[in-house]
């Protein structure tokens, strides 16, 4: 594993050494429970509250509204269920067809309970048309949830416009900013709830947050000792929270240079990969997150493509059916209408702060041969169809 090329940073990012250094004191030396009265407890409490302030600052948010969770999946669930249970009179939710499962599955569950769920379709690049959201809002609408940037395609959604139109219609607006935070500007002033996850930001796994407007009533998913102002009980994951805050701060600090570098790499990736015959870009060249690019290759299947790349030292991912535990293809690729023979052969390349020019070169040097190998054993030939 010495010279691996890790291009799956949308799945998870390696922990930043500086983040790890920030966490280090909280494993053994400062091990207190943040609810304890004594010195050890006060130290932990201070760490948690300092972290809350740091994250609030990075988001331009009121610290009172930051609720720490075990990750963005929980944050997304808390947004959906927390609001649904606090406002049972409103039984209509609007989301996009390409939300993460952490949004779609809570919505599916509510639909079974009799909620109306409007899943807004996207265009062939993956973009939601704000007008279709305006059209879908009615006086039963509890919440509009549209992700800021899509984790498979990298496409950015027009969340500023959507947030503003929700505000004008007095409907709450949530955005899953797991991939977008620290990479693009978020229109926090027109957003009511934001989900974040530390491990997508070179922070630790197992911690995230829901930022909610202070005072917004959310019924907890997890009841107990009354932590996090009663919205999320459970002993605080102090080292995780400290690492999360440190990661947020670093993302904001480094954003400008990072985005510039990754945008350059992304262009190289797109130009280079599209030179391979029978290839298509899923998503769009522009209006995208800087770190994610998604492709499809005719006549080959994505799982075997990822495995061949892995054999050559490159980590990437795919939305192919064969790669999923239940053998169902990516709902995102379906939603943008990728042609059948292309849908199974998708490849997501995603970069992090540690990504180098050498990584890009390695990928572009290796990928054509791998694609060719797999095509040479495929019953479909490029000229086909």
């Amino acid at each position: 594993m010495n010279t691996r090329t890790y291009l799956d940073n949308a799945a998870t990012t390696p922990l930043d050494p500086e983040v790890f250094a920030a966490m280090l004191p909280y494993f053994q030396r400062k091990h207190g429970n943040a609810s304890s009265l004594h010195e050890e407890g006060r130290q932990a409490r201070k760490a948690v509250e300092d972290a809350r302030r740091l994250i609030a600052e990075a988001l331009s948010w009121d610290p009172e509204g930051i609720v720490f969770t075990s990750g963005a999946t929980e944050a997304d669930n808390l947004a959906i269920f927390g609001l649904a249970r606090s406002r049972p009179d409103r039984r209509h939710i609007i989301c996009s067809a390409i939300e993460h499962h952490a949004i779609l599955h809570p919505c599916d569950w509510l639909e079974q309970q009799g909620y109306r769920i409007t899943r807004i379709p996207v265009d062939t690049t993956g973009r939601v048309n704000p007008q279709s959201i305006a059209d879908a809002i009615d006086d039963q609408t509890l919440l509009v949830s549209i992700m800021a940037g899509n984790n498979e395609l990298g496409i950015l959604e027009p969340i500023r416009e959507i947030g503003e139109l929700c505000r004008a219609r007095s409907v709450l607006f949530h955005t899953d900013a797991v991939q977008a935070f620290g990479r693009v500007d978020l229109p926090t002033e027109s957003t009511d709830l934001i989900s974040l996850s530390a491990h997508k930001l070179h922070g630790p796994k197992g911690v995230g947050a829901l930022a909610a407007r202070p005072g917004m009533r959310l019924v907890p998913l997890v009841h107990g000792g009354g932590h996090e102002r009663g919205v999320r009980s459970g002993t605080e994951n102090v080292h995780g929270i400290v690492g999360f805050a440190s990661a947020c701060r670093l993302m904001v600090e480094r954003r400008e240079t990072l985005v510039e570098r990754l945008s350059g790499f992304r262009k190289q990736l797109i130009d280079g990969v599209l030179r391979i015959p029978g290839t298509r870009l899923n998503g769009d060249r522009s209006g995208s997150l800087p770190h994610i690019a998604n492709f499809s290759f005719a006549a080959i299947e994505g799982e075997s493509l990822v495995m061949k790349l892995d054999e050559r030292g490159i980590a990437a991912s795919t939305g192919s059916a064969c790669s999923s535990p239940n053998l169902e293809p990516s709902h995102v690729l379906q939603a943008i209408g990728v042609p059948i023979e292309m849908a199974h052969g998708s490849l997501r390349l995603s970069m992090g702060q540690q990504t180098t020019q050498a990584d890009i070169d390695t990928l572009l040097r290796t990928l054509p041969g791998v694609v060719e190998d797999l095509r040479s054993i495929s019953p479909f030939k490029l000229g086909d169809s």
Partner: protein, 174 residues
Amino acid sequence: MYNEQVMEHFREPRNHGKLARYSAVGKVGNILCGDVMWMYILVERAENGEDIIADISWETFGCTAAIATSSMVSVLAKGKTVDEAITITNSQVAAELGGLPAPKMHCSSLAADALNEAIHEYFIAEKRPIPATLEQRHERIARHRKELEDRYAGFLDQGDRKQQIKGLPGSPCC
């Protein structure tokens, strides 16, 4: 996830490609489900009068397991009599590979099915009486293909393979 034997067949697949000369081809799978396997066999009459699978090859669109099982089936069948080859089961294929992850077991059935279909086509072409087990399996495979085609009929739009696959359920991202 995959064991070393599977990976070895995936890395260095045996007998892949299309035979220059073949007696029959068995085609199974469906592009909509994401796996398609074509198995080519060249059958030759041995001196003792037996039908031998003198050569075999395959083309596969599918996952690591689909590729490895294609390779393994070709290894198992090569040089066998047709009658022997008929008895190759998918559990045998998986076992010879040292096992497959649970969600990938169906890939081994795909490979064994492709061989079955190739042999079935050969029997038809040769106008030979078809053994009951071969025919039963052929019928099962045909039924399954029909089911899949029905299930995806909406997306297929009368043979237009370019049709988009909007609306299938689920996804594998993380």
